[in-house]
Amino acid sequence: MTPFTYERATSPEAAIRAVAGTPGAKFIAGGTNLLDLMKFQIERPTHLVDVRGLPLATIEDTPDGGLRIGALVTNTALAAHPRVKRDYGVVSRAIVAGATGQLRNKASVGGNLLQRNRCPYFYNVHTPCNKRVPGSGCSAIGGASRSLAVVGTSEACIAQNPGDMAVALMVLDAAVETMNAAGNTRSIPLAEFFRLPGETPEIEFALEPGELITAVTLPPPPAGTHHYHKVRDRASYAFAIVSVAAVLDEDGTGRVAFGSVAPRPWRVAEAEAALPEGPAAVVASAFDGAKPTHENAFKIPLAERTLALVIAEGKG
């Protein structure tokens, strides 16, 4: 790690001021992603603003019947919350499919959304990577790309978003509440929160410098059964190769998003509308225009089979 100064924020406003006003400053919540990257010197903050003392760790019912989840709620606390287990099972299931008990106890909701990708070249500081060093090139194109994205990619970057929780939040139409340096708050639909790489793969999220995530909001729970199915190289404790989050209604309609196949959780309205026609139609539509590599083309048929399994599970 390169040297840095450290402070504990006493209010959201002070935290934002400290990060927005100090070049090289970053928020730290659980630290499970940031410290890992700092140890590899992929991240080199000069100042850390610890936000864990802020009063953003509660889960509250909203007047419309939804839920407001503070950004500092731990992944464990969210997965174990009685209302989440009862009404938003897809969120509990997605969270406990990721990482380990130890990591989930430390990881926060905000930090989880902002976790960075797991491209092997992003982690190897001796190889070109446009995400890590803009303009240096992409080693994954033509390189080891088995785990990477097949759709939504660009000539500049083919990294996948590896997260589990965000895939579940995507099918629930979650929104991210933030506060910026001017003290303004806004609510960003999750579908707009993650940026596709285009020519600027180093810009991954729709956040301004110093903008703090304060909460994630969920609308009232949609009717139907909740599913999260994660396919990975080991039965436990591994990132997804493909995952499917779904809420399925009895009449065959529903909502579906795919994880680890694109630079963001991948939910396509037309594909979802094809659910009554079966998994092949959904996948054909969702992966229309996909540009898989020779190493990861298998993800598309795997997504179809995983969805078939989830649909069968939904029918009981």
Partner: protein, 209 residues
């Protein structure tokens, strides 16, 4: 593949200096004076196994290095230093975390329990005793982390924390063999003592009812 850049640079630097005959002017050990001057420190108060400690630490010091290198509590082990193996598992305010992925400064005012605090050879914690009885280890390197994790797993089940293999999320939770294996999956055992580890945890869970 994952050699940190600074390490490589320093090696190259030292090798280059040796080749150019400039070695006598190069400090060979310790951080360069410039780095030592700029590395900020913070005061940290920790309660570890019931004892208060007041430390002044480089902000970069992990909780794991604090325990091992500064407090000389070497029971907690460093395996990967990146959250992958679980050897560094300790309890912070009763919750299990990986001490390698946390900074000591983030724990100012916290209570930490390590394997040394759970019990002693003469007065073992029930989980330690069960690991001994069931031979829940071979080399023992992963064991402190396994035991701290196991103690926390029982508490997490009581608190209704679901796992990846939990069936009905809202039903009362039980600690079946497959449940405890999933919940312990963040603790890797290179010796493969898993079945005996599972037997030890099961015995403690059943004794508690």
């Amino acid at each position: 593949m994952l050699l940190p850049e600074w390490l490589l640079n320093r090696r190259e630097f030292v090798a280059g200096a040796a080749a150019s005959g400039a070695l006598t002017t190069v400090p060979m050990v310790g951080p360069s004076p410039a780095l030592a001057e700029t590395a900020p420190t913070n005061a940290v108060r920790l309660d570890v196994n019931g004892e208060p400690h007041a430390l002044t630490l480089d902000t970069r010091t992990t909780l794991l290095d604090t325990l091992r290198e500064h407090l000389h509590l070497t029971g907690t082990k460093k395996g990967c230093d990146h959250g992958h193996c679980g050897a560094c598992t300790v309890l912070v305010n009763g919750t299990r975390i990986n001490a390698c992925l946390s900074l000591a400064v983030m724990h100012d005012g916290d209570s930490v329990t390590t394997i040394e605090g759970l019990g002693t050879p003469d007065d073992m914690h029930e989980m330690q005793a069960a690991f001994v009885k069931h031979d829940g280890f071979q080399c023992g390197y992963c064991t402190p982390g396994q035991i701290c994790s196991a103690v926390a797993v029982l508490a997490e089940v009581e608190q209704g924390v679901p796992s990846h293999v939990t069936g009905d999320l809202t039903a009362p939770m039980a600690l079946s063999n497959i449940e405890l294996r999933e919940r312990m999956s963040g603790n890797i055992c290179r010796c493969g003592a898993y079945s005996n580890i599972a037997d030890a945890i099961t015995e403690v869970a059943e004794a508690r009812g």
